[in-house]
């Protein structure tokens, strides 16, 4: 009886390890997209002492999370409208932000990921919080990040603003 119980425990443990290993090696699209968004927030964040090479490297890696024909249409309160087309323009804008601000902390909060029926596109609805360290106020804006699967990568092909409060 004891031996049988021991084998059962080993079998359960092995099954658990197998499931964990499978999920680790083959994560779900939702998990991949969440990880990508967290990495994007990390790359968008920069400190005052960021060197020029790191500045360029991080901005380029961040731009690499987007498709070459990405379309950005953002309209945040206080920041005004922003429309960008293409990865190159986006990279140029990202470098401009890094040049003009002393530091920035970006967080993507309350991320809701929906994988579309085709399995090749997805929507991430999230709240972006951006703050300049040391300043009392911060910017908040909801966004829809639309992803498409290009090869094995999930890349953002569109960013659009979600208005919390609407106006005519």
């Amino acid at each position: 009886m004891k031996r049988w119980l021991g084998w059962l425990l080993v079998a359960i443990l092995l099954m658990g390890l197998g499931v964990w290993g499978w999920r680790f090696l083959f994560p779900s699209p939702e998990k991949v997209i969440r990880a990508r968004l967290n990495r994007m927030a990390q790359l968008a964040t920069f400190a005052g002492n960021e060197g020029p090479l790191a500045k360029l490297g991080n901005a380029e890696e961040l731009a690499g999370c987007f498709t070459s024909d990405v379309a950005v249409a953002a309209d945040s309160p206080g920041a005004g409208p922003l429309t960008l087309h293409g990865r190159d323009n986006l990279l140029h804008w990202l470098l401009g932000v890094r040049a003009n601000l002393s530091a920035l902390k970006v967080e993507f909060l309350d991320i809701q990921v929906t994988i579309h029926a085709d399995g090749r596109t997805a929507l991430a609805y999230l709240t972006c919080k951006a703050a300049v360290p040391g300043e009392p106020d911060f910017a908040v804006q909801e966004f829809n990040f639309l992803f498409s699967k290009t090869g094995r990568n999930w890349l953002v092909y569109k960013i659009e603003t979600v208005k919390t409060l609407s106006r005519l």
Binding site: T127, P136, D137, E142, T164, L165, S166, R167
Partner: protein
């Protein structure tokens, strides 16, 4: 022997303080307490840390408050209520005052609030302003919200219509 008894007595005292005289009941109490706290937070009262200038001077730039999630379970939101408005979740919420109810029109003229074309008193406003906003109709499942800080330029002040579904609850304090 005396030393042993002393140390066992002090351990006994510590044990009573840490896990009580009846450890089983202490565990039950902790489980019940944690469950109740989580349930209260999820369903009844949500503690929040306020930050920002939009609701000055009614609410300071920094402060602690609570959201009553049950406030609108049996009665609809009223004009003048200060409410918490969700974004894609509840990590960050907007704190605003309801000024327009479903179906009404809202406008500002020379800083005065006009509801359905009639001037509406706002006793909570401490800073007079000269806001101008053309008439806007509030949808049937919407509320018009704005902050109390009218010393800001209207262009810099985030305000507008929000669907009822975004309403988390009423501010308690």
């Amino acid at each position: 022997m005396g030393t042993e008894r002393d140390s066992s007595t002090s351990w006994g005292w510590l044990r009573v303080v840490l896990i009580g005289r009846k450890p089983r009941f202490t565990v039950v109490r902790i489980v019940v307490l944690v469950t109740v706290v989580f349930w209260l937070r999820a369903e009844v009262i949500l503690p929040i840390r306020m930050q920002g200038v939009s609701m000055l001077p009614t609410y300071p730039t920094w402060g602690i408050n609570f959201v009553n999630r049950l406030a609108y379970r049996n009665s609809p939101p009223q004009r003048g209520d200060v409410v918490a408005i969700r974004t894609s979740g509840e990590s960050i919420m907007y704190l605003k005052r309801i000024i327009g109810l479903p179906g009404e029109t809202v406008a500002f003229h020379e800083g005065r609030l006009l509801i359905n074309g009639q001037a509406w008193p706002e006793p909570y406003i401490k800073n007079p302003c000269h806001w101008e906003m053309p008439e806007e109709r509030v949808g049937l499942d919407e509320y018009f919200v704005v902050g109390d800080n009218r010393s800001m330029a209207i262009e810099d002040h985030y305000h507008g219509r929000m669907p009822r579904a975004r309403l988390v609850g009423r501010i308690m304090l």
